[in-house]
Symmetry: C2
Subunit: 253 residues, 2 copies
């Protein structure tokens, strides 16, 4: 049974303008809402985390025929041009509007719980790919430093494949705050000790540098490097982090 | 000492038009030349593989002051608008014009030599990131199937960080040709056996599926899966491949 949806046709509509603002970090922060797009991620998110979403945006009500929709979910039909504006990756598939959960601050003087990731990746694609690996390899707590991309940015959501909903995201403050983090704390650094010889504790904080900048020189943490042939100057940041996360996971299964 | 460069100011100039065509796969194939951009990769490539490059493109001859330039390298100065057209990633830094090396066909009935990668990644960003990991983790021979992106596409070069120049790239034909590949041959597949229990031989072929499609169901190879928590449906393709390459490297150092 298809519910008759509300129709929005004007680009001046206030609600449409609010959703449009969610394509940028500023609007995400101001509104506390996000847009999820994706042929796999939208149905999965609706089935597994229905309470996180308020609205489903469609261009044609028939698009949701056969879907099991949660009782509280509002369906809104958008004129095609409006829909395309919100559908940044061009999926042509219904979009979800969700509520950005609170991101509490973490007290880094408390010891780590399991594998925790600390990062300040500023590129939403890179952050999203990292979150996907974090969820895959069991880093349930991800601590975002000032300067990190918004974890619900459309590009970050796209790269993360719904990992956001599996993780506990926390705010970690500035790089200086990491100085006081309770250990063990290790950082990926091309000049560090061979990671292959490191015995991963179950509870540990893994620190990643910013793209192109690495870890602040003064950070008082143990530095590990991923062994390579040396044929290329460095690994891709997401690849390096994923290999480290995998190594922790493999050592603690 | 700065050599006086030739100046090109017209977008109708034949040589400029040839270089412009190198921004797309079709032009790359037709001309057998490529454009390299990058603040780190251009100086590194010029120092380590000078014989691969014929021309350095600048907007101002002063940009190369203090550089040690190979004797045979031609310097061409481009009007700013022309330069920006060729400088796709917007580096504002001199560009190199190089010659695409031959990509011989491989006879897959011969056994593998070291770790060989077989792939058909169609996205040049993904292929580039993969080549970077291949070079880092010692897969010196990379076998590209029909449908793979052009390995000298600007996006592929950008993601690979000069890995192309360290690798032997070979043409592998179609997926059907992989059926006849001499073993051992393993493929990454979410339904495969746990990779953590696999003893990596030194000489082995690792097959990667196409983005979103995976490995053809009929391919007669051993399937391995990377252990994860299961919290996300799948790993990013580059991450999965990199973790497998790292595992081979760690087992055979």
């Amino acid at each position: 049974m298809i519910r008759p949806p509300r129709l929005i046709e004007s680009p001046q509509n206030q609600q449409f303008k609010l959703w449009e603002s969610l394509l940028e970090s500023r609007g995400l922060k101001k509104q506390g809402k996000f847009l999820l797009a994706g042929l796999k991620t939208v149905p999965e998110a609706l089935a597994r985390w229905p309470e996180r979403f308020s609205t489903l945006l469609v261009t044609d009500p028939a698009q949701t025929e056969g879907w099991r929709l949660p009782a509280g979910l509002e369906i809104v039909q958008l004129a095609p041009a409006l829909f395309r504006t919100l559908d940044a990756p061009g999926t042509g598939f219904p979009l979800l509007v969700g509520t950005v959960p609170d991101t509490p601050s973490i007290d880094l003087s408390q010891p780590p719980q399991g594998l925790e990731l600390i990062c300040a990746l500023g590129d939403p694609n890179n952050l999203g790919a990292l979150l996907r690996s974090a969820a895959a390899f069991g880093a349930r707590r991800v601590i975002l430093l000032d300067g990190a991309a918004h974890p619900y940015h459309p590009k970050c959501l796209r790269a993360a494949s719904n990992a956001q909903f599996e993780l506990t995201l926390l705010r970690g403050g500035r790089w200086e705050d990491v100085n006081r983090a309770a250990g063990p704390v290790v950082a990926l650094d091309a000049g560090g000790a061979d990671m292959a010889a490191y015995r991963w504790p179950r509870d540990v904080r893994l620190v990643l540098g910013e793209e192109g900048q690495g870890i602040p020189a003064a950070l008082p943490v143990q530095r590990l490097s991923i062994p390579t042939t040396g044929a290329v100057e460095s690994l891709n940041a997401t690849v390096a982090a994923s290999v480290a996360l995998f190594s922790h996971f493999a050592a603690n299964r």
